[in-house]
Symmetry: C2
Subunit: 197 residues, 2 copies
DNA sequence: TTCTTTTGCTAACGAGCGTTAGCAAGTATA
DNA sequence: TATACTTGCTAACGCTCGTTAGCAAAAGAA
């Protein structure tokens, strides 16, 4: 199910560079001339590869959404696995996506508001759906007697909030590996949820 | 210690309206003409009251920083109070600031990057100092045997992350009052930290 | 009344914005 | 060799941006 055809290399490079700039300066404050300059091009030349500035943002946001869904699906594929373990794997998958491309993640988390309709509404629907998946997982865990929380929706929100703060401070050359970060976050966040410690 | 003189009413109104727009569209994507229009003015008229667009952002960001520090200071003023209780009060104070003006909070959290130097660096220093205060409090709690966490810095980051997600979903007309939200967040977040439950 | 402050207007400035048209060189494929 | 695709340039388009200058009405203080 190849949902995204592989981009031509120059186009992919534009996306990567733009993503870094969008993260550093914000989408609206990043100009096409700045982006072109970063790539050693003239502004007009960009349009041999892309249709518009927003097209880049669109690809980044929706591409990452796909990755998050894929990670969650992989973590919860086996219904025989205890729900608490599934949740732990979902947390780790989420962290893996966040750390694998933290620039794109930061754009995904903060710059989606600059999508114009109808893309913006579509994006928010995806985001809600993802959030609902975590909520449902936690609810299943409570029903199974594996987790406890006064409010599953609340728990899901704070859980994702903690995870999504990661791109703000994660540095690829930091002392913790992505796997260690994921493990530690999972420990800490499940600590407040697990029924029997 | 009056650090901020009361603003003339029109100026205060401009700040409020600008804050709402900055939150909704982002600082860079909000134009002075849009802001003026929202106030029933022409763009040039704004400059009878303010010096520049950034001046507004500066006032919002640093004004809120002051509120956060004041809240924290109040929560940790009494050294006789158990550290865990101080932390709970600090969480509740933080939430109170976030909910009292969630638009300004959102701007504080996301739009500071559009401050130009040296304000940007000054702001980040304040932010780091605030974060360090929470970390120190948690460390004190661990030392006193009231809290447990494998890494105080990590715990402080995830704690603030969960709290700072609040302006993204908080609605003043929601079913939970700010006090209830604060209490529930404190419960949930301390749940993962308290040594004896 | 006179003076100052507050508030707002119109008109315009220089600059930067995203984007397009038209052209041309290089590269891969047939 | 011929053909198509990729990549990039220059020049310019219409537009919006933040901001300023100069003027004027209204309100409050003296």
């Amino acid at each position: 199910m190849p949902t995204a055809a592989p981009l031509r290399p120059r186009k992919a490079q534009i996306d990567r560079t733009a993503t870094a700039l969008f993260r550093a300066r914000g989408f609206a404050a990043t100009s096409m001339r700045e982006l072109a300059n970063e790539l050693g091009l003239e502004a007009g030349s960009l349009y041999s590869h892309i249709k518009s500035k927003e097209e880049i943002l669109h690809r980044v946001c929706f591409g990452l959404a796909e990755e998050f869904f894929a990670g969650f699906a992989g973590a919860t594929a086996d219904a025989a696995t205890p729900v608490a373990a599934q949740l732990r794997q979902a947390i780790e998958a989420h962290v893996q996506v966040l750390t694998r491309d933290s620039a794109a993640s930061a754009v995904f988390l903060h710059e989606w508001r600059h999508l114009t309709e109808p893309a913006r509404t579509e994006f928010l629907a995806l985001r809600d759906r993802y959030e609902a998946s975590f909520r449902a997982l936690i609810e299943r865990g409570i029903a199974a007697g594996e987790l406890e929380a006064p409010d599953a929706a609340f728990a899901a929100l704070t859980l994702l909030a903690s995870l999504n703060w990661l791109p703000s401070w994660y540095r690829p050359d930091g002392k913790l590996t992505p796997a260690e970060i994921a493990h530690r976050l999972a420990e800490q966040l499940l600590g407040g949820l697990l029924l029997n410690e």
